[in-house]
Structure formats: C-alpha cells, structure tokens
Amino acid sequence: MGAFTEWFNERAPGLGAVYKKHMTEYYAPKNFNVMYYFGSFALLVLVNQIVTGIFLTMFYTPTAAGAFDSVQYIMRDVNWGWLVRYMHTTGASMFFIVVYLHMFRGLMYGSFKKPRELVWLLGMLIFLVLMAEAFMGYVLPWGNMSFWGAKVIITLFSAVPWFGHTLVTWIMGTFVPGDPTLNRFFALHVVALPLVLLMLVVLHLGALHEVGSNNPDGIEIKQHKGHDGHPLDGIPFHPYYTLKDLAGVGVFLIICAVIIFFAPSVGGFFLEHDNSIPANDLVTPATIKPVWYFSPFYAILRMIPSKGLGVLALAASIVVLFLVPWLDRGRVKSIRYRGLAYKIALAIFAIVFFLLGCIGADLTPGWIVGIFGPNADITTIENLFGRILVILYFAFFAFVWVYTFFGFERTKPVPERVITHA
C-alpha cells in the first residue's frame, strides 16, 4: 500500500470500504448479455447532461425576450457552443432510448421481482422525474413548439376536478406561458430536478447493490457461494464489468457521435423543425406534438375521446408500470424459462408501444394515405387503430396478472447455475 493510501485510509477509513463494496467487491453475475449495458449508458448520459448543461447555463438567458436569441448565440458565437448544445439535445433523446431499453430488459428477465421490487420502484421514480426534466428542458429554447407544447401539456392539469384551472395558472405563473413559466422551468430544470434525479440514482444503485444484480437466467447467484464467501457465478464489477462497459460505451459513443456530427436533428425527431421559429402565441404550429420520447403516452391521451378520461388513461399508463412487481406473480424470472404466452405478450407489448409512438409522432396519417388511398378517412382509421393499441397496452398488464395469478403459465425448469455463452 502506498504511503498516500495509508495516510488517506487512516483519516477516512470508510471511503475505501465504500469503493470496495460498490466496485472491486461488488459481485455481479458473469453472464450479463448485451441488454445489461443500458444502465451504465444511462449513467454516462446523465453525467453528459449535467456537464454540458452547466456550460449551456453559462450562456443561456431564461427570459421570454432573450431565450431564443441566446440559443442562437450559443450555436453561432460561443466557441464550441454548437457541439455542447448538440451533445445536450442528443443526450436527451439517447437518455430515453437507453432508459426504455433498460426498462424492457427488466421486463425480459424479471429484474423487478422479489427481492428487487424497490429497485424497480426507484427506477420508475427516476423515469417519472426524467420525463418532467425533459419536458421542462424542451421548453427552455422558447421556440414555437416549446411554447405550444408547454401550453398543451400544462393545460392537461385543468382536467383535475374542482381546482384544475387554478392549478394551471399556478403552474404557469401566468395565463399563457411566459416569463414566469420560463423562469420557474429553468430553476426546476437546472437545479431542483437534477438534484432529485441524482439522489434517486444513488438510491437505485444502493438498493441494487444491497440485493445484487439479476441476470439473463434469472438466478440468485448468492445461493451458490464458494469457500471465500463470494458467489461462484459472480465476478467483481471492477475490473470485469468496468472494462466490458468501457467497450460498450465505445460503441454507444460512436452512435452518438454520428448523430451529433452528421444529423443532430435526426430528421426533425431529436430537434423539431417548428422549434426553429420563435415562440409566438398567435401562430399555432400545424400539428402540436411532443418530442418523440413522449409520443407513446401522448397517443394514449389523444386516442381517448374525453379529455378527463384521456388524462386519466395517460396517468394510468405510467402508474401501471409501477405496479408490475405485484401484477406479475410468476415465480420464474427470466424470459428464457417462462411460458410461451409471456414471450408473445411481451413482444406484442413492445410493438404496441412502438406503434403508439408512431401515432403520437403523427406518422400514421401518411401511412393511412399510403395504404388506403388519398380519400381515406384518416381520423376514423387512426382512432380505430389507435384505440385497439391503447386497449392492447393495458391488456398486457391484465394478461400477465391473469396468466400468473391463476397459474396458467407453463414454465421450463430453471438451471441451478448460470449459463454463459463466452
């Protein structure tokens, strides 16, 4: 041990132990597959958002009169400003791609099941805060889609009975989104929500490291320990997974770099065309739609004919995800050994989520014209198609409960030890 390490450990004996607990002596299953990269990627993107966000904050002006100009100032006059902003905007979208895949991994391998229910709940809270963080960040450039998006989304709260309209005014701080809205969204986006997000991430990881990671076989590796007391199927997170993740990060960064340098707006998906027009409360964009990562949930809202019920369905579509650990009663965790119907249901669920996203992103009118000809009744067909999808979305959760609660599931035998494909 070096003299410095010795000096350090005498004065802060706890820090070395924390490092060991979470890195060199955190034993992770050795059979992680490609689905297990996304947690690390999410952490990386979070750091990217904080660092690039700090630099953007130095040059951004949070006023209705100055916000739009200051973003162009960052893009054109600030050295490397365009790079920092594109890293931030691309990071926002990549955050959701990575988080959606991370959540899907959880559904595939039953990572939410006992004893990891708290890990799942904390993860869902992260997802919820992330949505608020992304929404408020999207408002800050004060383009026309920022403005109208803010107006539409905040107005959803008017569906709350009794004091809905008062609530909307309270959130906006005014009667149409303006300076007060921008100021508070800036405060929340830059200070409050990142703090909450960081705290939740620490708790999410803390809860995970207490019970240990799940794996593609859905086996508890702690049930088979060697003479040294370490799981036989486990390997220290550092250096094994730090290095594996480093290689994964390389691939991930290549994808990000291609987007940032060659197509930062991704055809209007990561950065929307209408946001190149300054906020204008007199000119409504042709179609008001949220950024792509909200589009599945936005579609659920749009497909319900009544506003109150729509908002309720929107809320339910997220709340139901919180309940997954208690809806899915199956004992077998991994999709490898679960019944065929679960595999099919999960695949359908993923496709439904994607198609709802296409509706929310307003891609379907073009498809309908393509399939049914130019005289097709777009609204009727879209509503029919969309409502079936909304039903299928919720049906997944109902099915999983019935399938597992009443014991319909025919599972395969789960192996004693993990299977690797190295």
Binding site: K30, N33, Q72, M75, R76, W82, L83, L101, M108, I235, P239, Y240, L243, K244, L246, A247, V249, G250, V251, L253, I254, A257, V258, I260, F261, F262, P264, S265, V266, G267, G268, F269, H273, D274, S276, I277, W292, I335, R336, Y337, K343, A347, A350, I351, F354, C358, A361, L363, G366, K412, P413, I419, T420, A422
Partner: protein, 254 residues
C-alpha cells in the same frame, strides 16, 4: 434445449428492436417525401455555390429580409472570402464587418407597405426545409386577384411579390378542368414570358440561393461534418483497444 429456444427468442426480439430502429431511421426520409417537394440538391460544401447564393441574396433579398443571426464576418469565413471581398461585393448597407446582416428596410414601414413585416430568414431552412424553400422560389405565378399581382402554389396568398421575376420570367397557371361543385385547381405552372435566365440556369440559381440559406441556418454544419469523421475514427480505435483490454481481463472468466 432451452438454450436454443432462448437464442431464438432473443433473435426475434433483437430483430423486432432492429426493425423499430430502422423504421425510426427511415421515418424522416418518408416524411420528407411526403412533403411532396422535389429534392433541392443543395451542397453546403460547394463554396462556389454558397458564394453565388450569397450574391443573389444580397442583390434580391436583403432589401427586405434580414439574417440577424449571421454576421458578415461569419459569412466570410464560411464562404471562404476575405473581409475586403465581402465588404466591397456583398455588403450594401454600410454595416461593419462584425455586425449581423440586417435589412435596410425599417420594420414599421415594411408592415405598412406589405401588410406584414418580411420575416428574418436566418432559420428559414431549419424551420421549413431546403426542399420547401427551393420549391417556393420556383412556384410564383401571376395572379391579378392579389394585392402584389403575384401568388404562389407552395405558399398560397403569400404577401411577398416575386423578387426574382426578371430572372425566372413570368409563370401563369394551367388550370385543370373543374369537377362538379369543386373549384378549379392549378395543375401546373407555365412560363409565359421568359426571364433573363433559362429554366436550367434559374434552377441552378435557386439551388445556390437555397444552399446559402442552408448554410445560414446552421453554419456549424461545415465544421461538424469535417470534424465528425475524425471523431468517429478516434472512437472506433478507442473501442477496439477497450475490446482487447476487456478480452485480456476476461480470459480467466469461464
């Protein structure tokens, strides 16, 4: 056995995910086609095209439209021109080299004369797309029913009179036979009086002007694409080294 089924199911899921990614990647291009405007074919890396576009803009557009987010000095840098070249040939308002490109027309007067102040065009291509801009500039036609005498098929009843008419000439609409109960629609535009340019020359002029506006919308694109290749090459090397390192450490994991 379960191993095989597992691999099959992973492959199915991976294929589904891949299909989704491809669909997402293909969606923007599908959308672009949906706009129905022909590809503007702009190349912002063609400096000659940008320079010709800038000259057209300074001769025909800047009288009414500003580019308030673009400085003359930044334009010089992007177009590969010297300060002297820009100040003598492309700056007609007396602005300093470091100042933004602002139209000499007072906004209040513009509103009085045209009914609507001409919009700033700094972000026009970002907002509407290069294809739209090019199609718009080719779609003016004579229409005695409007205040300016001009109309546009891409932007019906636009307030702007057609400033490039001496170049393109005057187009008139060819109407399709009206169906019962339906108003007649414009089938195509026909060149009634040719301008100083041939249609091919005018197409090239529009392409240059659109390329210039594309550059003005995102001047970073010139730096980005040059730098991006190096960043990706570096990251590929980084990933290869990381992979070798990982393999070395993982040798003892069975």
């Amino acid at each position: 056995m379960h191993d095989k089924t597992f691999r099959a199911s992973v492959r199915i899921l991976a294929a589904a995910l891949l299909a989704m990614l491809v669909a997402f990647a293909a969606a923007p291009s599908a959308l672009a086609e949906e706009g129905g405007y022909p590809n503007a074919n702009v190349n912002v890396h063609d400096q000659g095209s940008l320079q010709r576009g800038a000259r057209l803009f300074m001769n025909y557009c800047v009288g009414c439209h500003s580019l308030k987010y673009m400085r003359y000095s930044q334009m010089a840098e992007g177009l590969g021109l010297t300060e002297q070249q820009v100040m003598e040939n492309l700056n007609f308002t007396g602005a300093k080299f470091g100042e933004p490109i602002i139209s000499a027309m007072p906004e209040a007067d513009a509103e009085k004369w045209l009914g609507k102040a001409p919009p700033d065009l700094s972000l026009e291509v970002s907002a509407r797309g290069a294809d739209w801009v090019a199609a718009y500039l080719k779609s003016f036609y004579l229409d005695p029913s409007t205040a300016s005498g001009w109309n546009n098929t891409v932007f019906p009843n636009v307030a702007m009179p057609f400033p490039l008419w001496q170049l393109q000439g005057e187009q008139v609409p060819v109407m399709s036979p009206a169906e019962k109960g339906q108003p007649a629609t414009i089938e195509e535009l026909k060149l009634a009086h040719p301008g100083s340019m041939t249609p091919a020359q005018y197409d090239r002029a529009v392409r240059d002007l659109t390329a210039f506006l594309t550059f003005v919308s995102s001047p970073d694109e010139l730096v980005r694409s040059r730098m991006g290749a190096w960043v990706v090459i570096y990251l590929v090397l980084f990933t290869l080294f990381a992979l070798v390192l990982k393999k070395e450490y993982w040798k003892d994991v069975h």
